[in-house]
């Protein structure tokens, strides 16, 4: 086979509709960031454009390296992740009271964000050949995930550590963990609420309390919940139009370009726009799951499970929060929120996913 025909084959295997959907979401995101920061210069838009270019390049690089190599490296990468999370706790510079960021030559990056991808890879490799669905393997997996998740929780970054839990549960589900264990997870999770409560930071407690009753603190956190719901609701069926959202323009919405970006979008584009965005996410998730169904590689299937859980939970939380249905955690809306770490790690994941399409028939058992 010649070099060019090989390349042709590679391109033929690409899931172009999936790539198009991601690109549209990213484009809508840039547009919304433009609107959310309207009147404050183009700084955020420019930086998000750079983030997009970097993310696209990362996707290409990860695509060509391929998911199989990454499965091989996954334990090593996971070790590096744990080390860097620990180092961050001790050396990190606390931005707004938490240790999340690494600064590399002018760029700030959150290792915990890339950690989501590494966790998916490591769990997939670990679980793929474990045929025996025993309790001890279940415990081993929990230990493996806790090794990184705990340090993320300590940063403190409650939102991201919840994603680690979601990824772990998703991988376990796809792997075939007996349903009774899931009952145990839910049960112990509920039991943890009163035990874990005192360990939460004040602002985390406040977010949860104000979610349960926004009128507890209308001067502070509850205010955001109320205002975001007003933003979404006042969008109506067709929205107020691009750049015409009053809630975000008059700064009733906090952090409109990151946490509350869906509120800004839904206010300006209404139910029609918001519905279409959710359809795009549904389409993306469907294409991801198709990869899992088609591939004969067990690791890919489990990876797909974790990856789906990751994206699904981000969308669920970010959209639900903007309507005041879920507590505020500051999770990014995939591909739409401003910020480099989130979009780059997601793109790396999609690069790997697309590389898995190259050789569906290859078994790994």
């Amino acid at each position: 086979m010649t070099e060019s025909s090989k390349l042709k084959q590679v391109f033929a295997s690409l899931d172009l509709p999936l790539i198009a959907a991601i690109a549209i979401l990213y484009g809508l995101g840039v547009m919304t960031i433009y609107s959310a920061t309207y009147g404050q210069g183009l700084g955020y838009v420019e930086r998000q454009l750079i983030n997009g270019i970097v993310a696209a390049m990362a996707m290409v690089v990860f695509f060509f390296i391929g998911i199989r190599r990454f499965f091989e490296w996954s334990y090593l990468l996971y070790g590096l992740l744990v080390i860097s999370l620990i180092a961050l706790l001790f050396l990190g510079d606390a931005t707004r009271g938490s240790h999340r960021w690494v600064y590399l030559g002018g760029f700030a990056f959150q290792p915990s964000e890339m950690g989501k991808l590494i966790l998916c890879l490591a769990l997939a490799r670990f679980l793929a050949l474990k045929k025996d669905k025993s309790f001890s393997i279940f415990l081993e997996v929990l230990g493996l995930s806790a090794a990184s998740g705990l340090f993320v929780l300590l940063q403190p970054d409650l939102g991201t550590s919840i994603i680690y839990v979601v990824i772990t549960i998703s991988c376990l589900w796809v792997w075939g963990l007996p349903k009774k264990y899931f009952a145990a997870i839910v049960g112990s999770g509920l039991a943890c609420i009163p035990i874990g409560w005192p360990f939460l930071r004040d602002y985390q407690k406040l977010r949860i309390l104000t979610f349960l009753n926004p009128n507890i603190d209308p001067l502070g956190a509850g205010y955001n919940v109320i205002q975001s719901r007003i933003a979404v609701g006042s969008g109506g069926v067709f929205g107020k139009g691009f750049l015409k959202g009053t809630q975000s323009k008059l700064q009733f919405l906090p952090e409109p370009h990151t946490d509350f970006i869906f509120g800004v979008f839904a206010e300006e584009f209404g139910f029609v726009g918001a519905f279409l965005v959710l359809c795009l996410y549904a389409f993306v998730l469907w294409r991801i799951l198709l990869v899992g169904l088609k591939s004969k590689d067990l690791r890919v299937k489990i990876f797909v499970g974790g990856f789906t859980g990751w994206i699904l939970f981000h969308v669920f939380e970010s959209v639900g929060m903007s309507m005041g249905l879920l507590p505020v955690t500051g999770l990014a809306l995939p591909f739409m929120s401003y910020g480099g770490s989130s979009i780059i790690s997601l793109s790396c994941g999609f690069g790997l996913l697309l590389s898995a399409c190259l050789d569906f028939p290859k078994r790994y058992e």
């Binding site: 109320i226 933003a231 979404v232 700064q251 549904a282 998730l285 799951l289 169904l293 789906t308």
Partner: protein, 577 residues
Amino acid sequence: MKRLDLPLTIDKRLLYFSYFAFAILLFLMIALFVFQVMHGDDYVRLATENRLRVIRLSPRRGTIFDANQIPLAVSISTFSIQGYPLSMQSEETIERIASFLGKHGIVKRPEDLKETLKSQYTVPYRSVTLVNNLTLAQMATIVADPEFPQELVPVSQWRRVYPAGEVMSHVVGYVGSINKEELKRYGSRGYQGGDEIGKSGVEAKFEHLLRGNFGGEAIEVDARGRLVRKLDFKPSEHGKDVVLTLDLIAQQKVSELMEGKRGGVIVMDVQRGDVVVLYSSPSYDPNPLAWGLRDFEWRALTKDPSYPMMNRVIGGLYSPASTFKIVAAIAGLAEGVITPKTTFYCPGYLEVGNRRFRCVRPHGREDIVGALRDSCNVFFFQLGLKLGVDVLSDWAYRLGFGRPTGISLPGEATGNLAGRRWKKVTFGESWYLGDTANYVIGQGFLLVTPIQLARAYAAVANGGFLPRPRLIEAEGLDGEEISIDDKVLSVIRKGLEEVVKSGTGRAAGAYGVKVAGKTGTVQTSRDKNDALFVGYAPADSPKYVIVVLLEEGESGGRAVAPLAGEILAYLLKERGE
């Protein structure tokens, strides 16, 4: 069989997972439908007339007292008029408000109001202060006016007053409106545009104690901006009071003695480092600064050639002149280079290299005590050359020179030890013996602050403890122990006593208190001197250390020593507990 079965289970689970994902998304779509389509109109109404308003309630700033509970900085209750940017968007509204205020004698042009709105703006529903510092009577007539605009909110507010005025301003400092840089730096601690913040002195350094916490009130208003109901209320928490170690009455006395002179005075407890008097002359009245100066007034104050805003005691850099001789004396005795019995012969000058360094007059044979008493340069040239500059500057550092004392006031200068390395770096020149000769008598490039001198002399007086000067007792006792044999220090003390008994500082002893100390005179130009006296009293059991500095005074002995003596006598006889 199992090998075939396993992938099937996985695929089934993947399928279920996709159903779950779609169910979640469907749930979100339904929720959106409920909020945006079914209740959209309600939320549109809520958004267009966003009815929540937030008022900030400012806390009372802590009072600053002197050691005898006399208030030095107090907050008094005044009133202000606030308004919301959201309800003051139209030209017409602003003009109406401006003319209403004008009717009540408050001159605010519409442009002024717009500027105020812009400078304090955070979010449209948070109030900004339009008019400050109204009395209760003014406020009552304004609110009683039937034309009082609905957009305005009367709020009670605190204003800072400094009853001690310029007597204490260099210590107490003043507050002012927070500026852009401060807002950037402290924004995370809950400051907002229009807030008051300590700008200098204790007001700035103890801002965290004095400030207190802001409260707030959330109210719902109707479409015309009128109060419908209160939603939330959080009272403000008052700031903590601060009690200084300073004595206002003594400080007042010092300010009278320093009237018309340029310089500074510090008096400190020799054991604990409690600052009793800290006065820099000329001083300034902090009251107009706290209320807000106009640009030209501020310029006049900062451009004044006598620098009233500079705290000379902690921020002024001076040659220590002969007061620095104790460093060589301590170093010489401690290093064993001389003993109390060692003598040098003073013919009135010393040739170093090819330069002739002069003494005041020929002193003949002098030992260390005599040399301190007569301030004999030749003795110290000889001693300095034996010690070498490196040992000298090392001891100067140990005695607290060339580094801040750590007093809790902003703007403390470090000084300059100006040793061998410094000269190489600054001028690219090597160190000459002549430099050492200048160095040992406190001339040349060496620069110190008065408070550094006070601390070093306190260590001599108390037997080797270098206290950190403190302004409030709550700071706790702090400092460092210098390891010097007390025999060494007792020789120095003997010398300093002789200075006042029969040497250059006799004038300090004329007030009925036994003083020990050292004079210093720096020629700053042809006929002008900076004059210094550093000493302590009572000489037998030291309680206070004092530094008196006069810029362009006559000489240390004539001009400054009597001032120091009078202040020490006043403190020990009339202010003693």
